[in-house]
Amino acid sequence: MKLGVVAFPGTCDDRDALDACARVGEAVPLWHADADLHGVDAVVVPGGFSYGDHLRVGAVARFSPVMAAVAAFARDGGPVLGICNGFQILCEAGLLPGALLPNVSLRFAMRQTTLEVLSQACDWTRPLTVGERLSIPAKHTSGRYFAPVETLRELDDGGQIVLRYVEDPLPNGSVADVAGVCNAAGNVLGLMPHPEHAVDELTGSADGLRLFAAVSAALA
């Protein structure tokens, strides 16, 4: 079971993502300029500030060679996880619906958030239980999830709203407190909170590891 972790210039959560992947399988670094996914079974597009977040979050990274490969991989049903900046990139690339706008506070905000699992219709949450709660940190400046009303309705109906903030939500202004959404096929998940920073009780929580473990178990 090989999980690839993409790095762009400016990605900074890739080491943590690699570490999280290594706990459930073999972690493979993937470089933005390399269109070859090296035979991985799942792809993580981690957080950070690809291309400095310049112009618009995720706008530049989505054009890199590796993203063309990731898009093809996703269309074939391969599991893809976009975390924070990775979520923004997947939205920009059209692999996920919607967009991430600047937090209403206009500030970077970091919190240990509580997330409620709303759907199992996704490769990354299938073994989890609807209604259960995860403690996972979130940190971002552009985490206000936006999608047109019709899209939101479709997402809701299709079980594509996978995670939402509960209790002390971030001051990001996300519509319906959405923290994570998946595509219709359920193989691509994007979320703003950082499961890769929540893989060890020693540093606060191990709840995030369960997302990685879910895909690893399904593919094993």
Binding site: D19, M110, T203
Partner: protein, 730 residues
């Protein structure tokens, strides 16, 4: 005015330069001398004093003199760390000033080859009632967050104080820690005649031209507006690429030496590298990639454009170096080579436009003896009164908890990523020191220890203003106490000396006394100094800042799983105060006296350093062994505030009776002196801790109840503490 005076050189200094060169310097040379002989680069007023700091210890791997010092943290690893100021640029443009301050200290860490793992920031502003303070605070915090968050280095701690003397001269100090395999540490000395000099990173523009001499060596005054076009802009994205590129170059063994570009840009970096290696350098400014084509040679030599590094490379490795630069989308250019001339020669398309002996630039700046004299009259006016006397203890405690200096810093640290890297075992407000695990990947054996380190930064300028010697001692003791609460033992420390104009006798006296205090306390606490920074001339029309030595200390934790915490752990635990025999908290110079607008005293309570060292060892042992379920040192606001903070961090109440302790009354509740801790643990084990520990009560309930003084619901403490800073800001 003559050109040299305008550039900050005295007539004598200029004459000396002419003597060294045997001729008048040309413009390029004069610009280089003016920067290298500025206070910022030459330490001409502080060098002799810095030599009195203890720099040796069993765990010191690299002492002062390199870009950062380093201590051995076990397992073949070293921790490189340093604190640096970016005060004047932050006063001019707080967002960019603070951001580039973080950028600069990060480069010092990866210049020695270490991967930065944590940043801390130490900030001083005027009172928050001032618009300027709120503006500076908001933008400085945003700038620090912007840079650190974007580059992916956790911000794990810091401190903010508000005091009137910082109104015109805010302080922005940033500290960074990095990890490196000890064998891989790299130095900055250039070597090997014929080796190539490669500049890599951002292109060079007119950023901060004149910055080091103009911004850092003169008091900020009327001229402010005219200096403004020189603001440096930070680009953390470029720095992230530079960081990864530098570390990959080092891992590939491609470099002879490495140096960051900071104050005085190429001039300082090139001449320091040449000086350390006792070689010469030729460099051609026309090979430097420029942002603006029409730059003069002198501008290129002194530009402080950010995110640049300089390295020395053997000729047959240049190609590989440039290829790695290309991989990281970083400009890499050969700009010169190592010579045996002992001179720094600046060329412009081959034509010599500057030629000076390296030694003259780096070593020959005159060193000035300070003329310290204690002030005849108080230097600082009494703080503005914001709290009436005669309030009952409950109201007094609430006022303290909500005051700007003691209120929760959540507003600030929630704008920082404290976790990236997944090493942060103790985040802000959970422990007196930040705790990081060295390796985020757990060992195969789940029972094996997880070695870690703890870090703390501290320096209460008002205490140093009262009594420079004892105030500086307190800064060191406070850091050591914070480490003890985390269960960590000091390995080494760094410091940033923020003072006023040392040419004034009373400032010279503050500096001299404070450094003596630092030296004595470092020796006593076993924390040698491995590096630091000096920022002088922090004064303007409003007078000097409080003398502010900021101390950053790093300590070792054999097992981060046993890291201490500040909040109570469980109901039913006993609460004890662990104090030095002579602990004598006093209101004079305390936070409460500040709120009451009382004048600064001229003396603080003495600290028996040998006894404190033993006390810290006992607390550290209590935490490591698990006997102490929580530990917190008594600092600003005294014992009552310390008890309240244990409640705040846990949400649990406590009932205590302080009668067995002395003194009673307000001094006992709110007085300050180094040498006491509030700890909790199982009643039977705490009772057996010995004479230093006095059991005073129990953890439990929903209120903090101090017999005969007050009963306050924890929810009320939380409300006041949380609102204190947040309410001041939009």
């Amino acid at each position: 005015m003559s050109a040299w005076r305008e550039l900050g050189l005295t007539d004598d200094e200029y004459a000396l330069i002419v003597g060294k060169l045997g001729r008048e310097p040309n413009g390029v040379e004069l610009a280089m001398f003016s920067l290298m002989w500025s206070e910022h680069c030459s330490y001409k007023h502080s060098k002799p004093l810095l030599r009195t700091l203890p720099t040796e210890g069993p765990r010191v791997v690299m002492g002062p003199g390199e870009n950062a010092g380093a201590v051995d943290v076990g397992g073949g690893l070293s921790c490189a760390f340093k604190v640096e100021s970016h005060n004047h640029p932050s006063a001019v443009e707080p967002f960019q000033g603070a951001a580039t301050g973080v950028g600069g200290i990060l480069r010092d860490i990866f210049a020695v080859g270490a991967r930065p793992i944590a940043v801390l920031d130490s900030l001083r502003f005027g009172e928050p009632s001032s618009d300027r303070t709120r503006y500076l605070l908001e933008h400085a915090v945003a700038g620090i967050g912007h840079y650190g968050n974007s580059i992916g280095v956790a911000n794990v701690g810091g401190e903010i104080y508000f005091e009137e003397p910082y109104e015109q001269n805010c302080l922005v100090n940033a500290m960074c820690l990095g990890l490196i395999e000890t064998d891989a540490l790299i130095r900055s000395a250039a070597a090997g005649v014929g080796n190539q000099l490669v500049l890599f990173g951002a292109r060079t523009g007119r950023d901060g031209i004149g910055g080091a001499s103009v911004l850092a060596s003169a008091e900020l005054g009327e001229l402010d507006a005219g200096k403004r076009p020189t603001v440096q802009i930070g680009d953390p994205f470029e720095e992230k690429k530079l960081l990864e590129c530098s570390l990959e170059l080092l891992a590939a063994g491609l470099l002879v030496s490495l140096q960051d570009l900071g104050a005085a840009g190429l001039t300082s970096s090139a001449s320091e590298m040449a000086s350390k290696g006792e070689v010469g350098l030729d460099l051609d400014v026309r090979r430097v990639p420029l942002r603006e084509a029409d730059m003069e040679p002198f501008e290129i030599m002194v530009s402080e454009s950010q995110e640049r590094m300089l390295c020395v490379v053997e000729p047959d490795r240049v190609e590989a170096v440039l290829a790695l630069c290309a991989k990281w989308e970083v400009n890499g250019t050969v700009i010169g080579e190592v010579t045996d001339s002992g001179r720094l020669r600046v060329l412009d398309e081959g034509a010599v436009v500057g030629d000076v002996p390296v030694g003259a630039l780096v070593d020959d700046c005159p060193v000035y003896e300070l003329e310290p004299a204690p002030p005849a009259t108080p230097i600082y006016p009494a703080p503005t009164r914001t709290l009436e006397e005669g309030l009952d203890p409950a109201a007094t405690l609430l006022a303290l908890l909500g005051s700007a200096n003691l209120a929760s810093r959540r507003w600030a640290f929630q704008q920082y990523d404290w976790l990236v890297g997944s090493r942060t075992v103790r985040r802000p407000e959970t422990c007196d020191a930040a705790v990081l695990v060295l390796d985020p990947t757990p060992p195969a054996d789940p029972d094996a220890p997880r070695p870690g380190l703890a870090v703390s930064i501290d320096g209460n300028g008002r205490r140093v203003a009262c009594d420079p010697y004892r105030g500086a001692v307190e800064a060191v003791v406070e850091c050591s106490a914070n480490l003890a609460c985390a269960g960590a033992e000091p390995l080494g420390m760094t410091n940033c000396l923020n003072f006023g104009n040392p040419e004034k006798p009373h400032i010279a006296w503050q500096l001299t006394r404070a450094i003596a205090g630092l030296a004595d306390a470092c020796t006593a606490m076993g924390a040698p100094v491995v590096g630091g920074n000096v920022s002088l001339y922090n004064e303007s029309g409003g007078g000097p800042i409080y003398p502010t030595p900021v101390v950053g200390m790093v300590g070792e934790l054999p097992d981060a799983r046993a890291a201490g915490q500040l909040g109570w752990a469980r109901e039913g635990d006993a609460v004890a105060v662990v104090a030095a025999a002579g602990w004598a908290p006093a209101l004079a110079g305390a936070e409460l006296s500040k709120l009451r607008g009382l004048p600064l005293p001229s003396e603080l309570p003495a600290a028996e350093l040998g006894e404190l060292h033993a006390l810290h060892a006992a607390v550290r042992q209590g935490v490591r062994s698990g006997v102490m379920h929580s530990a917190h040192d008594v600092a600003e606001g005294g014992l009552a505030v310390a008890l309240a903070e244990c409640c705040l961090a846990s949400g649990l109440g406590a009932s205590v009776d302080l009668a067995p302790l002395a003194p009673h009354g307000e001094a006992g509740l709110f007085g300050e002196a180094p040498g006491a801790f509030v700890v909790s643990g199982a009643p039977e084990t705490l009772a057996g801790l010995g004479a230093a520990a006095t059991v005073v009560g129990l953890v439990g309930g929903v209120s903090l109840d101090v017999a005969g003084a007050f009963t306050l619901p924890v929810t009320e403490l939380v409300r006041v503490h949380a609102a204190g800073l947040a309410d001041l800001l939009p």
